[in-house]
Symmetry: D2
Subunit: 156 residues, 4 copies
Amino acid sequence: MPPEAPAFVPADPLYATRVRESFARQGAMATVGARLSAVAPGYCAIELVPTPAVSQQHGYVHAGVIAMIVDSAGGYAGYSLFPATASVLSVEFKLNLLAPAQGERIVAEGFVVKSGRTLTIARGEVHAESAGRRTLVALMQQTLIAMHGKPDAPAA
Amino acid sequence: MPPEAPAFVPADPLYATRVRESFARQGAMATVGARLSAVAPGYCAIELVPTPAVSQQHGYVHAGVIAMIVDSAGGYAGYSLFPATASVLSVEFKLNLLAPAQGERIVAEGFVVKSGRTLTIARGEVHAESAGRRTLVALMQQTLIAMHGKPDAPAA
Amino acid sequence: MPPEAPAFVPADPLYATRVRESFARQGAMATVGARLSAVAPGYCAIELVPTPAVSQQHGYVHAGVIAMIVDSAGGYAGYSLFPATASVLSVEFKLNLLAPAQGERIVAEGFVVKSGRTLTIARGEVHAESAGRRTLVALMQQTLIAMHGKPDAPAA
Amino acid sequence: MPPEAPAFVPADPLYATRVRESFARQGAMATVGARLSAVAPGYCAIELVPTPAVSQQHGYVHAGVIAMIVDSAGGYAGYSLFPATASVLSVEFKLNLLAPAQGERIVAEGFVVKSGRTLTIARGEVHAESAGRRTLVALMQQTLIAMHGKPDAPAA
């Protein structure tokens, strides 16, 4: 995390459990082989290993798959600071693709920039890792909304 | 397509074949169950049926999966106008999520707004269809780049 | 307006007066020589005449000035549908610049795509007009927030 | 600048002069009272003092004026790395507004994230300064294009 990152205090001490349980309910993450690799207050990392199952036409990881993991990373960075009774939705995000996503591992990180009662602003970075080198492959800016009183899980 | 849509003339008469072959090489599209449903000069539609395999935590289609299909729809709308010797990459896109993506079918459409030699600007719409009703679930704005002299397929 | 535009019903029948009074309080609009040329439910147009006072380094209208008028056009398109007791703020917007902004007149139009209680999504188009021809010079996508119970005017 | 900022080497040793001369040709900057306060390779800062002449309806600095100065700051951050024979245009930018822009001084900073031959990606931050405190008021992500062989100044 950048040294300048604000120190966030989570509203719910069990935030990490809530994030992990919510992530486990995202069928889309399992489908593309993504796993949650880190959670901290206002921060989340999600990674995947490039395979043909997540490729675009040149064999790189599809820009949309990059969008999937960085949208979720930003969303869970925001959600980590929410009270236990709220859930999170993406209002919008913007993604720049900087370099082909290829290598041993793709790591998406979300960072909360500002956490508000209704809206949270997050930014995201996606790096490709290969032979110990990290290359920035995508940059994101995102708006999230807290749905207060709406449980994160679907109604049983 | 909107009545105001410009009438684009493709540089390559075999554009539809090129788009379909490129789409078939996108492993990520098969992984999320997406299929190419229409191609025209400056236009492309990609659709999928919602399943738990593409869901987020509330059971709706994941915003990132919406991003995947509308990014590809916009990309192929642009690519349909390229000469046969060029391939396409997304420079960036911005996606607003307007309503939960659920229903019988999710349809992403890409429309070229301006086609240039280097950069192409496209916009996208994603609708959810259910019981004969269409609901706009997402809106996209996108920048594409033409890679002249770079084949669309990975080197054999 | 596009034929497909939804027919919006304003919450406040005096919406046009509210929009015009709010516009008149935007000192920045007078500074760049912009004027409000049309208001309708979910729609607003703002225009200016290119002069060296709003130019960038090549002599075209500055991208930021384009952003100013289309941000306000989208904002007032949204605000036209708000109740009289709410004011509007831009949460974010994304602007693509398609062609140099030059000519006799620059017209920015904002269109509401979806109006919600808290968030409104608008899109914008900016055209340059010259010798009876219209050229699309910019495309915008925007998120607005309604501030309920917060008056539009600064406290007296 | 963030400690992680890459160390850029400008292609033209006279980059700062080129940036200052180009800025001086942007009539729009003088109109809103903006001044160039810093230039370094891959970095630029532009600031202004809030006045009613740049306000929106609540009396804060207009979001579009914020867009103007941060678009130029990002643009000149990119331009600082270009060869002397190229000029710069904004392809697109996305701006999140985080807090009302008010105070003694508004400072927009642009940082190059990736500099390529054709496209450059920059990000921007805008802070409001008041009584020695800095508040982040806006966050930007931007795509720039280098126009090789096109002079920065208008034809004489």
